[in-house]
């Protein structure tokens, strides 16, 4: 007798649905339910941080260490001896771009680690939109990014950073940096879903991050760079973000850079978010 024998039950009618709880027969998930799911999952991610406070070290220490390092080690050389104050005002707005990049990288490793655990299987067998797992992650990471920015700005002010515009402009710069950072998260989620281990995520990310960060206007004005590099920095979205943020802090024309950042953020999200969500759906 072969394994393909049709069992008697197959000859007849389709089975009656087993008693199912009183949900609508439709599988669609409404907006309110979706928001509730994202809320429950964001709560999970927040509780994880509470359980593992060390996971906050990056956002707590990175802004302090990097700011001090660059202001006091490179500040004199870049801006001229004794002009560290000026350099703080140049550096700190742009550093938000760098912090955003680093925090968003952590999302990739986080997603990758989640997949090593069985809990992702449970989420994916539940009647929730699969994207809500990713969106909840992004929501919490944006929160972490806000903490990093707050500390960064506090350090900046302590070191004598000046703001020549209004608090509203500063908030605008923070918002722009958060938006761009959130769009980057989709890239790292995609990477996190594509490679085998969390270490691989970091290795791959470093390869991209170093040239992007330093080949930008975050740390020094590109005017001293050779022509070929300047072309790169001009098109580097981190330069646009740093310039926009700087303009919003100390005044000057920002419209072009702001639009550039918005365009980059939109383009990155539109391309990588659907890819990441589809990858997430199909991942086995």
């Amino acid at each position: 007798m072969s394994a393909a024998t049709v069992t008697p039950a197959a000859t007849g009618q389709t089975p009656a649905p087993a008693p199912v709880k009183a949900h609508g027969g439709e599988g669609r998930i409404g907006l309110r339910a979706n928001l509730r799911h994202i809320g429950a999952l964001a709560r999970r991610n927040t509780l994880q941080i509470k359980q593992d406070p060390q996971s906050m070290f990056d956002v707590l220490l990175m802004p302090i260490v990097f700011t001090l390092l660059f202001v006091f080690v490179f500040g004199g050389a870049v801006a001229g001896n004794g002009k560290q104050d000026e350099y703080v005002s140049y550096l700190v707005p742009g550093l938000m771009a760098m912090m955003g990049l680093n925090v968003s990288m952590a999302v990739g490793t986080g997603i990758n680690e989640d997949f090593q655990k069985g809990v992702m299987d449970r989420f994916r067998t539940m009647p929730i939109a699969r994207s809500s797992v990713l969106i909840a992650k992004i929501v919490v990471e944006v929160g972490r990014m806000m903490v990093a920015f707050a500390i960064l700005l506090a350090v900046g002010f302590v070191l004598g950073m000046s703001v020549d515009t209004s608090p509203l402009h500063v908030l605008g710069a923070v918002g722009l940096s958060l938006l761009f950072g959130a769009s980057l998260m989709w890239i790292f989620i995609l990477i996190g879903l594509s490679v085998k281990t969390a270490q691989a995520v970091q290795g791959m990310a470093m390869l991209v991050l170093m040239p992007l960060q330093f080949g930008s206007s975050i740390f020094t004005p590109p005017s001293t760079m050779p022509g070929w590099l300047r072309t790169f920095t001009d098109y580097n979205p981190l330069s646009s973000l740093a310039d926009a943020a700087r303009g919003l802090f100390i005044g000057g024309p920002v419209a072009r850079d702001v639009w550039m950042v918005l365009a980059w953020a939109a383009a990155i999200t539109l391309v990588t978010a659907p890819l990441a969500i589809s990858k997430f759906r199909k991942k086995t």
Binding site: A3, T5, G12, T14, P17, I29, R44, L47, M126
Partner: protein, 349 residues
């Protein structure tokens, strides 16, 4: 194949099928994880899917729980098609995998509350359900502790509790006791029996014959992605080997005389009866009801004092060996690597 039919011959007998799988195929490159699997689980029953590592058990469960798309074939669970109606289907199933699918960094209560919220319970109901289930699975004391501090058995119980929050119609248990010590394993079995008592349909995969025997009423044996046998647990056992009669005389000294009497009467079967002096038992292989009647009649007529008498079926270990042993001889060379079915030791904190 030993002339086994799948399930009973009566199509209208019993309840509707909660799970119907037809010709399910899933290949990973050259590996045929599922190579045309058919099976049914009747509503309110437990089907044991028995097979060695790499037989395709986990792939089967992943297909049935919408985690993996099958390459061919159909699967209908609680009336919903696995491929066409995954969202509806997810409302009716629960899954407890080989690896505890709960968040280790969260407290037990938080895990259950989160799942309640994801299943659209109100805050109040989610809280109540979390409390209820922790109580039921004897985890109330550990409610506020992060799961990483739980022992292996506690984790598995929490996992079962998590699967029960949505009151699923169909529950998949993928090797629910792999890596657990015997005491913990019994705890998990007790919980599963309780859930079945409440009317949940269960598809259980296992490589432990004892587990299938304990929990399942029907059994499908799979090997290399194919069903090689199936039926009621007792039927399957009866077909593969005969029963064994065990007799305990009032006085163990009677054992040799009893064995001799049976041999002289030609009633001890081809293999002959066996005396287990340590246990004080006589084992007689039984091939027919007539033989059984004659044996009991003879022992009674000769006036042997009998303290206990009973028959037992061969263990599932023997059943499985009988079937797969036969199968492997003509199977093709392409074996499914068993490394795919990794086992992980549960570390008790």
């Amino acid at each position: 194949m030993v002339g086994m039919t799948r399930f009973d011959k009566n199509p209208t007998g019993g309840a509707a099928n909660a799970v119907e799988v037809r010709g399910l195929v899933k290949h990973y490159g050259e590996t045929k994880a599922l190579d045309g699997v058919d099976l049914d689980v009747r509503e309110g029953t437990v089907l044991g899917v028995l097979g060695p590592n790499g037989a395709g058990k986990t792939t089967l469960v992943r297909c049935l729980s919408t985690l993996v798309q099958p390459d061919a074939g159909t699967a209908v669970v609680a009336g919903y098609d696995v491929v066409k109606q995954p969202r509806q289907l997810r409302r009716t199933i629960g899954l407890t995998g080989q690896y505890a699918s709960v968040d280790e960094k969260l407290a037990g209560w938080e895990n259950l509350y989160m799942i309640g919220r994801l299943l659209d319970l109100s805050r109040k109901d989610a809280r109540r359900r979390a409390d209820e289930l922790l109580e039921r699975f004897s985890l109330t004391e550990a409610a506020k502790k992060p799961v990483m501090q739980y022992s292996g058995g506690m984790r598995r119980r929490l996992d079962l509790a998590a699967s029960m929050i949505g009151q699923p119609a169909v529950l998949y248990l993928d090797e629910p006791t792999t890596g657990l010590d015997p005491r913990t394993r019994n705890e998990v079995w007790d919980e599963v029996k309780r859930m079945v008592g409440e009317g949940v349909t269960v598809l259980l995969t296992t490589q432990y014959m004892e587990e299938a025997e304990q929990l399942a009423s029907e059994l499908t044996v799979i090997d290399r992605g194919r069903v090689i046998a199936g039926g009621k647990v007792d039927e399957l056992k009866a077909k593969v080997g005969g029963r064994t009669l065990e007799v305990r005389p009032t006085d163990p000294a009677l054992l040799p005389a009893m064995a001799r009497a049976l041999r002289e009467a030609g009633l001890d079967g081809i293999a002959g009866s066996k005396v287990d002096a340590g246990e004080g038992l006589l084992y007689v292989p039984i091939l027919s009801d007539e033989q059984l009647t004659a044996v009991v009649g003879l022992l009674g007529a000769r006036g042997f004092g009998i303290a206990h008498i009973g028959t037992h079926l061969p263990s599932l270990d023997e059943v499985f060996l009988a079937i797969t042993g036969e199968k492997t001889s003509d199977a093709a060379a392409g074996t499914v690597e068993s490394a795919a079915d990794h086992q992980r030791e549960e570390v008790a904190a």
